[in-house]
Structures are given as C-alpha cells and as structure tokens.
Symmetry: C2
Amino acid sequence: MADEQQDGKGGAGEQPGAAPAEDRLTYEESGVDYDRIDPLKVLAQRAARSTGANLDGAGAGAREVPASRGESAYVVDIGDAYLASITECLGTKALVADAIRESGRTWYDHIAQDTIATAVNDLVTVGARPLSIHAYWAAGSSDWFDDVERMNDLVEGWKAACDVLGVAWGGGETPCLTGVVEKGAIDLAASCVGIIRPKSRLTLGEDLAAGDAIVLLESSGIHANGLTLARKLAERLPEGYATAMPGGRTYGEALLDPTVLYPPVTEAAFEAGIGLRYIANITGHGWRKLMRHPGRFTYRMTDVPPVPEVLRFMVDETRQTAEEAYGSLNMGAGFALFVRPEDGDAAVACAEAQGVRAWVAGVVEDGPRQVVIEPAGVTLSGESLALRD
Amino acid sequence: MADEQQDGKGGAGEQPGAAPAEDRLTYEESGVDYDRIDPLKVLAQRAARSTGANLDGAGAGAREVPASRGESAYVVDIGDAYLASITECLGTKALVADAIRESGRTWYDHIAQDTIATAVNDLVTVGARPLSIHAYWAAGSSDWFDDVERMNDLVEGWKAACDVLGVAWGGGETPCLTGVVEKGAIDLAASCVGIIRPKSRLTLGEDLAAGDAIVLLESSGIHANGLTLARKLAERLPEGYATAMPGGRTYGEALLDPTVLYPPVTEAAFEAGIGLRYIANITGHGWRKLMRHPGRFTYRMTDVPPVPEVLRFMVDETRQTAEEAYGSLNMGAGFALFVRPEDGDAAVACAEAQGVRAWVAGVVEDGPRQVVIEPAGVTLSGESLALRD
C-alpha cells in the first residue's frame, strides 16, 4: 500500500529550549491520531500483499512486481512494458479554499492541480510516464454545484494540469454523497495509470549506493501535506487566513499556491539519459521521506533550500522545533532525485530547464537509517518512519 | 466521463392510476437533484474530451481510443494491447450497514464487494480483463477505526473479492478527512486498471445489429444503485430496516446482499469464443442502461427475470409505477450481454457455469431509441437518458 498519509506527522516531543506546550501545536493536538489509523493501513497492506500471486498463471499475461509494494506506486509486468497505477487523495486542503471564498477567487484551479499532483508525483517515482487520470469529486450536497465559478475553476484547472503533463483526462466520478460527505464540502482524489517503457526505466532503487548525490527540487509552498495543522493555526490567529505575513501576502492565499508538478522533470531526465537511482516524493512526514528506501543508508544533507514564506510563518507561529518542522513539512523541497555523483549538476540543469529550481543538496552514505540535516542541526531517525509496512 | 450516478433516477411524474402523491417517493423527494449535478458532469466530460490528443506525439507510444469516452471505461491504445481504466464510487450504501450495526454483523465484507463491483463490472464492458485494484477509504474521524471487527471485515471482504476476480489489490488510500467526510462515515471508492489483449477483445459496440439477442444476467438485490431511495424508505417505515419482508428476511439485511461480480462471466465468454457485440452494466437509471449504445436501436424485452424480494418490497412500499421501477432499479437484471441470435443459449450456459443465472430476454431492433419491456407494459424512451454527454 503506498504510504500516503496526507497530513504529515509532526511532533517529536519536548525539546530542550522548546516553547511552552500551550503555544505549540502538533499533529496529535490537531486531531489526526496516527495510532488509530495505522492499524487499518497495516491490515490492508498485508491483505493486499497476499493477493499478489492472483495474476500468476491467470492467463492475463501479467504479474506484479512485488518490490513495488513498498514504493509510491504499484507496478505490474505486462510483458514488454510495466504498468504503474495509483490513487491519491487531496486531503483537506479544499477547506482552506472554501474558507477564503469571499476573497473573490475560488482557488479551485489551484486545488485541481494539487489533487492531480498528489497522484502523478507519486506515480513517476517508479519511473513511469503518466498516461491517463481519472477524477474523483464527491460532493456532500447538491448545492455544491450552485457555485458555478468554483465548478468552472475546478474543471479548467484539472484540464490545464492534464495539458501541462501531456496526459489524457480519461473520466471520473462526480457523485453526490449526502450523509457521507459533509454538506458544503467535496472529497477530491485522483487515480493515475502510467507506463514504464522501455522496462529499463523501472526505478525501485536497487542500484542506490553510498556516494550517490541527493538532488532536491523546490516546492511552491505547503503543497498538500500539513493542512490539518495549517487549518488549526488559522483558527488560533486573530485574523485567521487573512493574516498578513511579513512579505505582505495573506496566509490563506499563500497556502493555496499549487503543488509543483514534477513529471516534466523526470521525463526530461529519462530522455537526457541521466541515471535516476531512486526518486522520492516529499509529502507526509516531510524530509523523513528521503529515507523511504529500504536500504541501510544515512542521508547527509549539506544544504537546504530556501524555506517558502508560508512554511516559515507556520513554523514560527506554531513554535515548532527544527526537528518537528523538517519531520512534517517539505520545508522548501518537494521532490528528490538520487543520482551518481557525476550526474548531480546535469540533474539540476534538467530540472531548471523545466522551470523547477534544484540543488545538489546531500549525499548518500552507508550507515544507520537516518536523515542528517547539517544546516539545521537536525537528525531524523529511522525508527519513527513506518512507511513500508 | 463514465456515467455512474450511483443513485438511479426514478420519477416519470404522475401516471394514470398512480398512488396519491403523498404515498409515493421519488428521487427528487429523496434530495438527489440531477439538474444540478449534471452541469458539472457535462462540463467535465467536455473538458476531459479536449485532453484526448495530449498523448498523441507525446513520445509515450500511446493514444486514446476516442470512442471509449461514451462507454463505461476509458481505453488507451499502447501498441499491442489496450489499457482500460476506471474509478467508481460505492455511493451511500455503507450508511445502511452502519444503520444496522447492532444486528451483530458489520456487513462490511459485503460492502467491500459492492465497492469493487462498481468498478470491475464497468471495466469489463469494454472487453477488458481487470489486473489491479486500488482502494479508496476516506474516513471522517479517527474513531472510525475503533470498530475493529468492521475494519477487519472491510479488509477481508476486499481481499476475498480480489481473489475471486483473480486480480491484484495494488494499494490504496486510507486518509482521515475530518471536516470533509462526516464524522462516523466513510467514503468508499475503487479504481481499476485492466488490459484488453488480444486487441480484438475491444468491445465498443460497432458491430451491434438488429436481430442481436439480449442476454440478461441476474442481480442479487439492489446492488449499489437506488440506495438514497432505499434509505428514505427506511426512515418512513415504522420499524425501519428491521421491517420484515413477506419472505421473512429483514429489509436492511436484504439490502446488503452483495453485488454480483460479472467479470468471471465475461472472461469465460471470451475464452469460449462467444462474440460479445456489446456489454452493458445495469446500474443507475435501471433498464435505461440497456440503450446506452449510441446507435438508433429499439431494445424489445420479451422476458423479465424474477424481481428480487427487496426490490419488489421497495417498489410496493414507495408505490412506484412499473415505468419508474424499471427506469431506476435493476429489477433483477444486473448486467446484459448482446450477442448474435445463435449465440444466446451459449452465453446463458456460460453465465450459469459461473454460477450466475441468465436468460435470453430480448432482441435488438432497428427503430427509435427506446427500451420496450413487454411483460411490464413499459416503454422507456431515449430522450430521458443523457448518458453519453
């Protein structure tokens, strides 16, 4: 089961010098209780894994790639190619757009891109090229559709993201689930199918090695993880989402900067022949995602990208420690490419040619499973990460 | 966009001899307002169609099959095979299971099969063999996971259906969407990817012709459409879901009989070399689904299958006319195969060998687009069906 908790976990407990507990805000306090959710995920992952042999000898000419089960997308071998598939939920970010609807915009074009990004950014981590996307938009009441501008923005934004990605919007579901979805709300998700062809593009990390360079790609802001915390913070601020941040933008509008779409970068890298040893989508759990590879490696980050203003604001206002921040938010890095050391600069140039800033920011080392973030004085250890079942 | 309104529309207005309005219950009265939902679906279908050329010349070696856009699953040509994909929502049926939780069972094993069925039964209509399924289970609060028996039933039921189908459960999403999904509720959906190989299996109905036989496959009960009406009826009955039906079973338990899985029948038909000219999944809009083919045909039904007790009960209690009933509920037929007249009996035998009762029940004729149900004295006309945009 792909690990995609949409709200990354913060909270490493009290730290020396941390702000008093009543000023701080962590995930448990926000109401997302991981101890309860994880049993379902673990049960489901095990049951799902047990179906893996269903394709064998079933006459379909297909079999699963078992190693993909710990990765961000599921892979099936169909002979001369692999198929990759995924379903991803936006989470609660649309509630932010709804809260600032009176701002004059609906922001659902951005929300559409966020939703698509949650799916495609995961799909491409296994080396796939996305082909088609299905939309899942479940409203809680018929009156959701009365906001014609919002409907149009959602549709146009969805199409625009598909056009940028060069994928087909194959269809979807637009049910009205009164009694299941909250009145006035909408549950947004995306499913994506992709192809890995030639098969040599399959990226599961078997070749990741000490010495490999870690290339970070910039984020645009919060992306789609950390929204429960972000919304709780808005409740505490006297001016809520309208709070002006130091640079002048309002908190709410900055939260709605759309997630960066990374497939154009991975496609360009494959076309340029840059060997991608591993790929990680930095979503829930923040920089802990850098150590999702099953191997015994230490990830030593010597540089950190600039932190987007909205994340700096959140961290400051919630008095998070650097460990909590880097362990739950993207902190300016939305995606990571792992390449041979000699390919680091080429990978950066590839990303920047696609309009995405990038940096050779770290190196893979043999050692205990951890992420060492030198400029922040933070070490994220492997025990706190249960990403692979 | 696949037309999959989970709650079929009843209501053809007053009929001569119909029961007084205050005794009757129709979809508008149930709160599902199709005039509002349809604009979004139409907007989305048009925008989605405009992305169709995104794959062309994009270096992916793939292009869409445009004719699939009016069908129940989306098809992409990848060279030596087609890929089919779909995402489908269960709808509100889980609320019935939740309402009768004190019955001693959770019924979520049945709910799991219903959810998977909504996806796979649509996918196979284009001739695909399902390969992998992704689960989408979005809860409204962390306490959903406290009902351990229910969690286990959902997981086990999901796995069991995958095992029956010979498909891999590839993964999924189990987010907690506080503020989007109602507290205590869960939004259930399934995504499915399939393969059409050899390409000759592609079934879009180009060869459907007058004289073709219509073979109906039995349903097990309500399946997953008509649940909003079913729930409204339960509110009106003095004993609600515990109401005993004439045969002795309670209304609630009968509603939860799981949807029949039809892929074993289509797989067997393809393997037996029975030419399937067209395939229709009877879901929302009841028997109107028999005329979803874009051609100008009349579908003359000379036989009708037995009506499951729970549907007979619903129709009687809500005082629906036969036209309303056949136009919104499956009325005993969950799936239809269209074959050459000489293949009718073979198709029936094929289904029955898979444990699904079937009947040669009608014939395709040249004529205005309508479904004529002779034993019920009902004609469903084509204007009331907006299934293809």
